[in-house]
Every structure is written in structure tokens, then in C-alpha cells.
């Protein structure tokens, strides 16, 4: 006998969270997921617990410089990616102009190119001995470096430029989904009240899209904090460079771990600050979805919009890929000798497993946080997203320690009970590699899915609960379909990043297992970038197709038409 809707609603409203087997399972799943991801971090904490005088030494000497460089880099990249990402997303969502369809997915393409390769290409192009300056010197008859001024590419601004070009797609992708989902009524209200289009953007659209923009920017900034290849190449010593320096050159793993933890704390503080700033604001949109078609632009306005979109695509993708093609054409034989096809397969396999796992775990974590508001679960979710804030190599070392220790236990037990040692089941196989990638990239999946979840109004849940659905069913039948776009974004971003990932893969891969990234790196690290070009192109190709597929999928109005029924 079913109770009347009214009493059932009251029961649902007053039921303590966590009632129902599904919910408990979700909560446990979230804690386990967070625990697995946090494992390498714990190992790093253990590493940091030994004595090291690296911190005081650095403090006395180069720390101020490192910290300043890092902060400037973050500020520069942060501002740039917000401008680029939001601007591009806005143009592409709210307006129509020739080429607008292609620009939708083209703007995400720079994500497919590994950052240090872009760094090399631009230094090669713009440095003193490069073609651009050479041509200028011939043109104007300058003889030496003292005859003219040309900005030094290997500098902080140069690093900001390269990093922004490769990282803005994070903001672009998330902002675009947010803008598309924004209610037209908000903007119509703004227009009615007299705001022109651009001021309306700043006053209404941008603030409402803030969670997505913030999430995208946070991801980009964490990449910046963690990056070693680009800043090392550009000779810009940052905090992370300090970590590697202490680790490798001073052979002080404990000191490096301590520094990595300092970096982590700093990152956490930033994230905390940002969340506190938007604590009391609501970002869900209650009205009908925005009209799918934007305002049509004509004439010089259309040309301007197209040019504005083309610029980041050309600089961040077309130009680097063209240079890679050029080099690959000359050196493809050397590259092919190294079993490129097998590496391609390995790369794709790994990336698929990692992205699926990460998306699943992110869903579990995000749902658990949404349904079970307890501090434990929320804390677990926050912790699970931290892997991205740590240098990949440091994470890998921590994971190795933890898994090898577990393997030690397994082997000891096997020796005692079975008389044989099975070998390194965890730390010596692809398990370690996949675990490492997931630990690191879970933040990406979480960011996308959480910002998508934030856009779903709680009234949706309330309505569903009133109609008799249990909490987990609400997730499955109401939230999940609406999150399609976010889940796809999560899958894509993690896939592409996993294909590009390098330092962890180098350290954690089993025997005989190499990926495109490790192969490319072997050449690139010796500044034999020309030989690295073919492998790099494969990496780019492996990333492009998912990228295009995703952006296309995010065009589908299905995620928007759900609410049209209400």
C-alpha cells in the first residue's frame, strides 16, 4: 500500500541522510575512491617525515625568487586563460558568424599538444638564432644582439604565453558548457534593464558561469604549478623546479617531499579561498534554457569575431602542428624504428582505462557529496581532487613506495604460505601506472562533474523526491542524464591528459611498456625534438578525435530539452 504523496514527501524530507542501502554504498564507495587516490599523497607525507635541511637552505638562498616567479606565472596565466577561455566561449555560444561551427571544436584543440613541445617550437622560432630574428636581422641589417631589441622568449612572459596557449581550453570547454546552459531569461532581463551585450556579459553571464570558469582556471593553474618541462626549458625557476632540484641534484627526497607538501598546502588554501568566496551564491538556472541560436554577426563584426577565435587556435595548435609536420617529414624513419604502432596502442589502452575509471570515481564522489552532506564525505571529495596539485613525478614516487610496500607484504605472505614469490604484482604492472594516472587526473573529472552538478537546481531533486523517487534513483534518472555533457567533458579531458602524461609514466611503467609520450620524451629530452616530432604528432592525433567528438556531443540539445518539459 503506497502512502499518499504528501506523507511520503514529509518522510523523505525528514529522513536522515544515509538511509537506504544504495546511499550507504555510495558513501563507502566515495571514501574508498578518495582513499585510493590519496594513497600516494600519504606516502609523500611519510617521505617528508625524515630530517632534511633543504627547506632552511632554500629559504636563505633562492626561495624568494622561486616564490615570486611562481606567483607571477600563476597570475599571468590565470588572467590570460580567463580572458582567452571565456572570451572565446562567449563568442562561440552567443553569436553566429562564418566559420563559427568549426571554431566550436577548433578552440579546444591546443589541449592535444604537449606543453613542452609547444615551448620548444616557440623558442626555436623566436630565439636569437631562430628564423624570425634571423629574417629581421637580414631585413634591417643588424649585426649583433646589441643592435636591436627583441623580447627574450626564454623568460617569464614567454612562459606565460606558452602555458596560456596550451591551457586555456580547460576554461574554454567548461565555460562554454556553462554559457550554453544559461537561462535566456537572465540575459533578456539584463537587456530589458538597459545593458548592452558586452556589459551584460560581465554583469550577468560571467558571474553566473563562475563555478565553471573557476574550475577551469583552477585546473589550468594547477597544471602551471606542477609543470616542470616548460619552465625548465624557459629557464624560469619556479617552486616546482626547486622541488626537483632538491630531489635530483641534492639527492634529498625528504626535502623534496617537504617542499611538495608546502606547495600542496598553498594550493589547498587557494581552492579554499575561492570556494569561500562563492559560498552563499547560487548558480543554478531555473528558467528555460538559452535559445540555441546566437545573434548573427555580419560584416566587419563577423570578421573580427572570427579573427579573435582564430588567433588562439593558430598560435596554440596550427602553428605547432605545422612545425611538427615539417620535422616529422624529415625524420620519420628514426621515429618509426622504435615501434610507434605498439606505443600508440599502449597509449590508447591506458588512456581509455584511466578516463573511464576517473569519470566513474568522480561521479561516485560528486554524488556522494551531493546526497550525503556530511563533513567526512565532503572532505574525502576535496582530498581526492588534490592529486593534480602535486608534481607528477613526486606522486609517482609516493605511489611506488606505497605499492611496493604492499607488494612486499604480498610477497612475504606468498613466500610463507606458498613457497614462491609472485613478483611485483602492483608496482611492477600496469596497475601502478593506471593508479597513478587516475590519482592525478581525478581532479579534472571532478571539476567538470561538480560544476555540472552545481548547475542543477535543488528544486529538481525536491520535485523528484516528492514524486516518490529514492535518493539514488533521483541520481540515476534525473541527474545523470542532465550530466551527460559534464561526464563527456570529464572523459575527454582525462583521456587527452593521460595521452600526454609523462613524468609519472616514465617512472611507473612496467618492462616493455612504452607509450607515445615516453618515446617522444626520450628524444625531446636530449633536445632532439626533430626526431620526437612523429611521436608528438601521434599524441596530437590521439587527442584530436576525442576532442572533436566531445565538442560535437556537447552541442546536442538533449541535455537542455530535459528541463523544457518542466
Amino acid at each position: 500500500m503506497t502512502a499518499s504523496p504528501a506523507t511520503e514527501a514529509m518522510a523523505a524530507a525528514s529522513a536522515p541522510a544515509g538511509r537506504g542501502g544504495g546511499l550507504r554504498l555510495l558513501r563507502i564507495g566515495a571514501l574508498v575512491a578518495a582513499g585510493l587516490v590519496v594513497l600516494p599523497l600519504l606516502a609523500v607525507v611519510v617521505m617528508a617525515a625524515s630530517f632534511s635541511d633543504a627547506l632552511p637552505h632554500l629559504w636563505r638562498t633562492v626561495m624568494p625568487q622561486l616564490a615570486l616567479n611562481t606567483l607571477l606565472l600563476m597570475a599571468g596565466v590565470g588572467i590570460s586563460v580567463i580572458m582567452l577561455g571565456c572570451g572565446a566561449a562567449w563568442l562561440v555560444v552567443r553569436y553566429r558568424f562564418p566559420g563559427h561551427g568549426i571554431m566550436q571544436w577548433a578552440l579546444a584543440l591546443p589541449l592535444a599538444v604537449p606543453g613542452y613541445l609547444v615551448a620548444f617550437i616557440y623558442t626555436d622560432l623566436l630565439e636569437y638564432a631562430g628564423p624570425v630574428q634571423k629574417a629581421l636581422r637580414e631585413l634591417f641589417g643588424w649585426q649583433g644582439p646589441r643592435d636591436y631589441y627583441f623580447p627574450e622568449i626564454r623568460s617569464l612572459p614567454g612562459a606565460v604565453m606558452v602555458l596560456s596557449l596550451t591551457l586555456y581550453p580547460y576554461v574554454y570547454l567548461l565555460a562554454r558548457v556553462a554559457f550554453m546552459a544559461q537561462s535566456a531569461s537572465l540575459l533578456e532581463a539584463a537587456r530589458l534593464l538597459g545593458r548592452k551585450p558586452w556589459p551584460a556579459f560581465f554583469a550577468v553571464a560571467l558571474p553566473v558561469a563562475w563555478p565553471a570558469v573557476a574550475a577551469g582556471t583552477a585546473l589550468a593553474l594547477m597544471e602551471v604549478l606542477n609543470d616542470f618541462g616548460v619552465v625548465d626549458f624557459f629557464a624560469v625557476p619556479t617552486f616546482t623546479a626547486g622541488i626537483f632540484d632538491v630531489w635530483l641534484n641534492m639527492n634529498d627526497a625528504a626535502g623534496a617531499a617537504q617542499l611538495a607538501l608546502v606547495l600542496l598546502v598553498f594550493t589547498l588554501l587557494l581552492i579554499l579561498l575561492e570556494r569561500m568566496a562563492r559560498r552563499r551564491r547560487r548558480f543554478d538556472t531555473a528558467g528555460p534554457r538559452a535559445a540555441g541560436r546566437g545573434w548573427r554577426l555580419r560584416g566587419w563584426k563577423a570578421a573580427l569575431a572570427l579573427a579573435a577565435c582564430l588567433l588562439p587556435v593558430v598560435l596554440g595548435f596550427v602553428l605547432p602542428v605545422a612545425v611538427l609536420l615539417m620535422h616529422a617529414a624529415r625524420f620519420w624513419q628514426e621515429s618509426l624504428q622504435q615501434g610507434l604502432m605498439e606505443q600508440l596502442f599502449n597509449t590508447l589502452l591506458l588512456a581509455s582505462v584511466v578516463s573511464l575509471t576517473a569519470a566513474l570515481l568522480a561521479l561516485v564522489l560528486a554524488f556522494a557529496a551531493r546526497l550525503d552532506g556530511s563533513a567526512t564525505v565532503r572532505g574525502a571529495v576535496r582530498l581526492a581532487g588534490i592529486g593534480y596539485a602535486m608534481p607528477g613525478a613526486m606522486l609517482a614516487v609516493g605511489l611506488l613506495m606505497a605499492l611496493a610496500w604492499a607488494d612486499g607484504l604480498i610477497n612475504d605472505a606468498a613466500r610463507a604460505w606458498l613457497g614462491m614469490a609472485p613478483g611485483l604484482l602492483l608496482s611492477g604492472t600496469m596497475f601502478a601506472l593506471a593508479h597513478g594516472h587516475v590519482s592525478r587526473f581525478l581532479a579534472l573529472a571532478l571539476g567538470s562533474i561538480e560544476s555540472g552538478l552545481a548547475r542543477i537546481s535543488p528544486s529538481m531533486e525536491a520535485a523528484a523526491r516528492t514524486l516518490g523517487a529514492r535518493p539514488a534513483e533521483v541520481l540515476r534518472r534525473v541527474h545523470l542524464p542532465m550530466l551527460r555533457g559534464s561526464v563527456l567533458t570529464a572523459l575527454l579531458i582525462v583521456f587527452v591528459d593521460s595521452v600526454k602524461e609523462l613524468p609519472m609514466t616514465l617512472l611507473l611503467r612496467p618492462f616493455g611498456f612504452s607509450t607515445l609520450a615516453t618515446q617522444t620524451y626520450q628524444f625531446a629530452s636530449d633536445e632532439m625534438f626533430e626526431e620526437a616530432a612523429l611521436g608528438a604528432l601521434f599524441i596530437v592525433m590521439a587527442g584530436i578525435i576525442p576532442l572533436i567528438l566531445l565538442v560535437r556531443a556537447m552541442n546536442a540539445p538533449s541535455s537542455q530539452s530535459e528541463t523544457a518539459r518542466f
Binding site: 544504495g22 554504498l25 633562492v62 635530483l248 639527492n251 611485483l424 596497475f431 616514465l506
Partner: protein, 364 residues
Amino acid sequence: MRLVRRVAGRRALLAGLAVVFPVGMAMLAGVMPVQAQPAQQPTAGAGQVVTVYSYRQPFLIRPVLEAFTRRTGIKVRTAFARKGLLERLRAEGENTPADVVITADFARLWALKKAGLLRPVESEVLRKAVPAHLRDEEGQWFGLTKRARIIVAHKDRVKDGEIARYADLAAPHMKGRVCIRSGKHPYNVALFASMIAHDGRDATRDFLKGLKANLARKPQGNDRAQARAIHEGVCDVALLNSYYLGKMATNEKKPEQKEWYGSLKVIFPEAQGRGTHVNISGGAVVKHAKNPQAGQKLLEFMVSEEAQRMYAALNHEYPVRPGVQPSELVRSWGELREDRLPLTEIARRSREAARLVDEVGLDH
């Protein structure tokens, strides 16, 4: 009724996932887990495998390893990583599959020994083939090839005799004419450590300050990039590992590097004094090696005459074995009078040297 079906459905799904995932992962670990080999190894050569953890690029050592397999029938498996092999070995402990470690410089070997990850090797062959100053006195690591840290100068812009010692890089007449790679790079740190060992800390600090004042640009790029800078006129002198000269001179694919090589002249610093600073690529047997005898055989092979000639010529380095000549190209650069200070003495000062670089702010 509906309730039961819904609950069962959900649980079944979750249970299914909980099973599928680990199974899937285990299947993916289809690259066989690395076997810890049983204690009794057949002593016959054929069928054995020796496992190498290498800091050196695979393509640099592969030919020698293949020659080893042809000679002895022992197969070689290699894992290569630029960073973290030491941590890997330490974490793996007794279960490590590694037998031999090959490095690209001696500081790493010294660190491995300090971490207790190596085992001493009793080998007359190795002791005879590797000069005392290029190996560990307790037999825990051995140099396999040698490279000199030389100074290259533009052949026209720098007069003969302007530079004869490392200290001349800090001399006033070199202001604005010097390029180096990062001061924190192990090759440079080793050089500075040798200076501390010879001249003391204060003298080295003064040298570094003078060097910084003479830099034409912030330290950047690798050694070859410095040669390029000299060719392009950015600076006049640079520090280089000797083998880069060989790489540039024989680069068919990138003929512009031959041009860089062509505009340089080679100076062996301190040739009249204490000798030019050298570094080594070296090898050692891992403490928990499952197959230490094969590991020792590998090292002994690598210092044999045949292998020394091949291995050194591959990368344009100097062999360590007395009596084996380096390649003709290497000989054409001049005679190497090397610093005979034991590398362990230098390695002991590495940390101090790295700190000095920080104090002086060489890279900033």
C-alpha cells in the same frame, strides 16, 4: 515487489562492477608481472636474463648490450628512467627485479651507494680494467666510459692562451662572453665540486660569483645549445662535455650542427696543472640482485677491449680501460690530461657545490 526488484537491480549492478573492474585491470596488466626469480639460477649462460635499470638513454647502450647477448647468450632487459630510479630501487627492496644499474654520471652512483642499494663486486677483471680514481674503492661501482668537461671557444674571436684554466672563466677579460647550461645540472655541479675539493669552498664561491658576472645570458639549454650560441655570436666561450663535439661533428641529419662544430676550438682546461675534470658513465650491481653473477659478467664485458672500443665510440667518449685508444675523431681534439682526484672525493662535495650555486644565485 517493485522495491525489491529495484534494490536487487542496483546491488547487482554495483556488485558486477566491483568484479569487472579488478578483473579488467588484471587483464590489462597483461604485461606479465615482473617475476622475482627463484634463488637457484642455472649457471649456464643460455636462458638467463639480466635486468638493467638505466639512467642512460637506451639507444646509447643497446648495441653494447646486444653484443653481450651474442657473446654470452644472456639476455638483457632494460628499464630506462631519467628520474627516480633510486627511489624505485629503494621502494622495491628485496623484491626488485633489477640486477645492474647504469648511470650517466658518478654522482648518481655515489648516491646509490650511500643509500645502501649496491653490492660490492670482487672482480680482478674490473679492478684491472678501471683505473682506481674512476671506481669505488670498495668495488661497489665502476666507471665504464669517460668524458671530459672541456671549454670550447670561438676559433677566431678568442685568442690562444686567453683561457687555460677553469678559473679563467671568471676572469675580468671574459666579461659578457661566457655561456653555460644551468648551474644546477649534475655535470656542472660535479665540476664545481671538484673545484671545492682542490681549492676549497671560499675560492669556489668567488669563482662562481665571477662566472655569474661574466655570463652573456641566463644559463639555459643544454651543452649543445651553448655551442650554437657561440656560433651565433651570443657568446665566445662555453663549458661542454667532450662527447657533444663528436655528436655535432657527425650529425648528418642536422648539418647546421657541423657548422657549429666548425667554428669552435677545443681547450682542455688545467692541462698544465692538475688536469681536466672528467666524469664517467658507470655501472654497479644492485644489492638485492637475483642474478648478480650475470650482472658482474655484464660489467666485465663492458670493460673488455672489444666493448670499450665500441661503447666509447658510440657516444664519442674516452674508454676507461688503459691501452684502448679512443676513436680517431676524439683523438683529433687533443690530448686529454685528466684530473686524477678520485671521483669519490668529488662526489662527497656535490651537495656543497649545489648549495653554493644557490647561494650565488647562478641561475637567476
